[in-house]
Every structure is written in structure tokens, then in C-alpha cells.
Amino acid sequence: MRASDLQSSFPMVGRDTTAVQAARIIAAQDLAGLVIADRAGAPSAVISAVDVLGLMVPGYVVDDMSLAGVLDENAAEEVWDKAGQHTIGDLLDDDGVRKYELVRVDADDTILEVAARMADARAQIALVNGPLGSPAQFVTLPVLMDSIVTFCAPADAAHADA
């Protein structure tokens, strides 16, 4: 099995995408992160869903967690309304947020090669290099794991061997 057998499309967001739009994509598709497209529309980096969550929380609460409890429910609603004002661009410009370099694999890489690269980079997603101009294709961690476990002995059999 090769990387090309595992690849699929993956939602990408740009600098102008708001935090709320990004959150909707994450929530709807149960994602652990998002791929960020550069100004030309090509995938350039990966951010985690947790960082998108951080973008929706007011900066003063991120700076001082003890303030989270002082706001009542009504005030909290206003906070979530305001979350829409922030964009993924704000996140990219924040030095405190880790932007993961996009791991790149070749279409004919074996699963072991893909797994090794993703494990080394602690990446949840890898871009499969394809022909110029073709839609971007990715290998995600759940799909990779799913294919790896098919090679492993069933848990019950492993126990019996032991």
C-alpha cells in the first residue's frame, strides 16, 4: 500500500477565514486541525484545532486564566459573538502559536515512510506531492492509523501467542 492509496482531499482555509468559519469546519468534519493555504491557494502550513479554539477565547482570558470565571453567561455570549472578528491571519501572525510545517510525502511512498515522516514531525496530516496544478491531496492520521492496524495481528491473537 502506498501514500496514493490513502490520499483524500482535505478542507483548506486562508488568512481571511474567520475563527467562527474555521470552527464550523472543524466541528462539522470532526477535524484535529486545518491546512492553511497561502495567497496563491497552495497548502502551506497546518494549525491545530486547539489553536483555533484559542483564537475564539478573548486574549485577556488566554493571558490570565483566572479571569475566565468572572464573566456570567450573558457576558460569555457576547464573547462568542466577538470571536468572529478574529481571522486565521491573526493566528498566523501570533508568535505564540505553533505553525506546523506541512509534511510532504511522495505518492509512491510506502506506509512506513509516510508514518515515519509524520511521527518525526509530530504531524496529523501530510501533503501528497502531485502533478502541478492538480487538486491538493492529503494523508490524515486516522486514515494512516486505520491502514496500519490492518497489518497488525488482532489483539486476541496477540494475547494467545503470549
Binding site: P58, Y60, D64, S66, L67, V70, L71
Partner: protein, 430 residues
């Protein structure tokens, strides 16, 4: 002038330029400069580790370390946020009254905590309060950071330059209280008046927003009452230890370390939380600076400059104090006041040694000038840079010139007011 002295001076000047321009991290500059001083033979291991005149000032390093541990634990209690929200509610949401209360809280806190810690604690809660009031937090943040630079001047532990001055001059916590608190109290009142003049047009009061402030629940900030009681208790003990120096004969560094040890023992927090706020880079920066300046002391450069200063000053110590006050304010507005005071302290020590008690007010002139000068520009003090960063991250950028136009006014007024204080307090009778 020998080649060794020329090389040492080149290292010193180069390091100063690099620290001022911030092209390279200041700790890197200080440590490389210290290493170069060793390589050119300006100092050695005995000078670095064991000399009181030219070595690392361990009193300063360990006092800072002890206080960083205590404050790092205390700030986890949420007491500062409680105070700020409580004050905003007592002010019934009126922006200028809130500003006055936050300015006073910040100034008092920064007399006991370092200025960066103080603004890190007060800035987020200020943003919250301003968000609830729907007013710009910019005037509040500028006022608070300036209040922290003013309040920090009041005590031995309030600002790192004071710690250096106290150690070099042999001044006690009580000496600072007696000599600095009166003028700082006056300056704080004047500063509040300046805030009214500078910011009143930006502080519009909207009565419909008051309920949003009154709905804040400050009690939620106190997550761990036991930790609060323990850490406040230890802070009170430590400050009492500073005040009772003449009775217990323990140096401030020892008192702070004992307090930190006691707090670690009784709170039993995990190491990560105990040492989270210890700024190891700052401590290394201090060590590097002491070695760098110590190299000049060992080579006799400081003594030669000190001798020239003694001859120039003669017995006109008021003129020297005025020069030191305004010169320090100008320098501290441009460069970090820590290396400035680390360099000036041995020089002033020479002047005071030569002039006797009549020259002792020079220490206060140095402290006032270097502490208050930090308000002059956006880069004059570390706390200013930190607040500008917080404001930027939260979508309220404060430009260099926005800060500096207010900073120059505040610095000019506060430093100028120190001159009649110095004259009336120390020179008028003579």
C-alpha cells in the same frame, strides 16, 4: 592607556550598543561580553566569583531569585485580579475613578513585585474591565505601566536598579522607605492629575455599561484560598524581615531565599509551578553585566573615571545630584536602566566614598533618575515593552510615539519634581 584597557572599553561600548539596539538578545550580549573580558584578561575566576568590588553581586542575583519564586507562587492565587475587579465595582464603572484605583493598585503592587510581573497581572484584567465598559483600554494600560515604573521606585525590591544600588551602597529596605516613599507618594498624586489632563477626553462614561461591570464576579478569581493565605503570609513575613534588618542582621537576599524556601515547603506545589516565573535569562543577564563592569573595575577604568568625576564635582554635590538625576533619566529612557545602573553604581560609590555623608543623596538621585526615566519612551523599561505586546495581541496596538508622547510629559514632570525634593531634603540645610 594599555591595549588591554582599550580592548575592555571596546567590549563594553559594543555590548552597550547591542543591548540598546536590541539586535541580539541582551543575555547573549552580556554573557559574550563577560567571556571577552575574561579572554582579554580583564578579570578572572577570583574576580568573578569572590570579589565584592568586581565580581558577580550575589546579593542581587539571589534577592531577585527569591522574590521571583515568591511572586510566582503568590500570583497563582488570583488576588491581584480580585483587587482590580473589586476596585472597578467600587468605582461604579466610572472610567476615571477606575483608572485612579488601578493606578494606585499598580503603584503599590509594583513597590513589592517587579514591574513586569505587576503589569502582566494587571493588564489582562484591565482589558476585561474596559471590554465590559466598552472604552479603549489604551489610556488605562499606558497609565498603569507608568504607575508601575513610579511605584517600583519606592522600595528596595520594587525595581532592579534599586536592588543594585542597595547592594553597592549598603542601603537597607528602611533607607528606601524613608528616602523614596515621600517623593514617590507626591509623584503618584501628581501623576493622577496628569492622567486627568492627558486622558480625560478618552474616558467617556456610559451609564448603560455599568451593569456589565457590576455583573463581574471577582470571587471567581480566587481559586485556591489556602494558597492565597500561605503566600500572602510569607510575603508579609519577608517584608517584615526586610524592615527588621537592623535587628535580625539578615541581608535581603537571605530573607527572600528563606521566604521562598518556606513557601515551597508549605505549599508543596510541583516544581513546574514553583519555578515557572523565575526568569533565568534575567539572572544570567545580571551575572554577565556584573562580570563585564567588573572587568572595567579590575583594570582601574572605573576608578579613573570616578577620580575625574570627584575632581569635577568638588564639593558641589547638589549640582552632581541634579546632573545624575537628569542624566540618568535621559539614559534610562533610551537604554535599559539595569546595565546603566550596574555601570554607574561603582562610579557613584567612588563619589560617595570621597564626599562622605554629604554625597550620599547621590544614590537617591541615581535611583530616581534611572527608575523614573523608564517612562520616557516605549522602550525605556521592560514593563513598557510587555504592555505594548499585550495591547497588540488583544487588538489595541499602542505605537511607539503614542506611548512616548505621554511618556516624555510624565518623565519631564516627575523627574523635575525630584530636584526640589532632593534640594529641600538633603541640601537646603547645608
Amino acid at each position: 592607556m594599555s591595549i588591554q584597557v582599550i580592548l575592555a572599553l571596546a567590549v563594553f561600548v559594543g555590548a552597550y550598543i547591542l543591548i540598546a539596539t536590541e539586535k541580539v538578545p541582551r543575555v547573549t550580549v552580556a554573557l559574550v561580553a563577560a567571556a571577552l573580558m575574561v579572554i582579554i584578561g580583564a578579570t578572572d575566576e577570583k574576580g568573578i566569583f569572590f570579589s565584592q568590588d568586581s565580581g558577580i553581586d550575589w546579593n542581587v542575583i539571589f534577592l531577585l531569585l527569591g522574590m521571583m519564586i515568591i511572586v510566582g507562587i503568590l500570583q497563582q492565587s488570583g488576588v491581584f485580579e480580585f483587587l482590580a475587579i473589586w476596585a472597578a465595582k467600587r468605582a461604579k464603572g466610572r472610567p476615571f475613578v477606575i483608572m485612579v484605583m488601578l493606578v494606585v493598585i499598580t503603584a503599590v503592587l509594583s513597590a513589592f513585585l517587579d514591574n513586569v510581573t505587576t503589569v502582566l497581572l494587571i493588564a489582562p484584567v484591565t482589558l476585561l474591565i474596559c471590554d465590559r465598559l466598552n472604552v479603549s483600554p489604551v489610556p488605562f494600560l499606558i497609565a498603569e505601566v507608568m504607575a508601575s515604573n513610579i511605584g517600583g521606585a519606592a522600595t528596595l525590591i520594587g525595581d532592579p536598579p534599586n536592588i543594585i544600588i542597595a547592594s553597592r551602597a549598603g542601603l537597607t529596605f528602611n533607607d528606601f522607605i524613608v528616602n523614596m516613599v515621600p517623593i514617590i507618594a507626591i509623584l503618584l498624586v501628581v501623576f493622577i492629575g496628569l492622567c486627568w489632563l492627558m486622558f480625560r477626553k478618552q474616558l467617556s462614561f456610559d451609564p448603560t455599561m455599568v451593569a456589565r461591570v457590576m455583573a463581574l464576579n471577582e470571587r471567581e478569581t480566587i481559586r485556591d484560598k489556602i494558597l492565597l493565605i500561605k503566600s500572602l503570609g510569607v510575603l508579609v513575613l519577608v517584608v517584615t524581615g526586610f524592615i527588621l534588618h537592623s535587628v535580625i542582621h539578615l541581608e535581603p537576599a537571605i530573607v527572600a531565599l528563606l521566604g521562598a524556601g518556606l513557601l515551597v515547603l508549605i505549599t508543596r506545589l510541583e516544581n513546574r509551578k514553583i519555578f515557572a516565573d523565575v526568569e533565568w535569562q534575567t539572572l544570567l543577564f545580571f551575572a554577565g553585566l556584573f562580570i563585564m563592569v567588573g572587568g572595567l573595575v579590575s583594570l582601574g577604568v572605573i576608578e579613573a573615571v570616578g577620580q575625574a568625576a570627584i575632581e569635577a564635582v568638588g564639593d558641589n554635590f547638589f549640582a552632581a545630584a541634579a546632573g545624575l538625576l537628569f542624566g540618568s533619566a535621559i539614559f534610562s529612557g533610551i537604554i535599559d536602566n539595569i546595565p546603566y545602573v550596574a555601570t554607574l553604581a561603582p562610579l557613584v560609590n567612588d563619589l560617595v566614598q570621597a564626599g562622605g555623608p554629604a554625597a550620599e543623596p547621590l544614590w537617591w538621585a541615581l535611583a530616581l533618575g534611572s527608575d523614573l526615566g523608564g517612562n520616557a519612551t516605549a522602550v525605556g523599561a521592560s514593563a513598557n515593552v510587555v504592555v505594548l505586546g499585550i495591547a497588540m495581541r488583544n487588538g489595541h496596538p499602542i505605537s511607539f510615539w503614542t506611548f512616548t508622547k505621554y511618556g516624555l510629559i510624565v518623565t519631564a514632570v516627575t523627574v523635575t519634581l525630584c530636584l526640589p525634593y532632593l534640594w529641600l531634603r538633603y541640601f537646603a540645610g547645608g
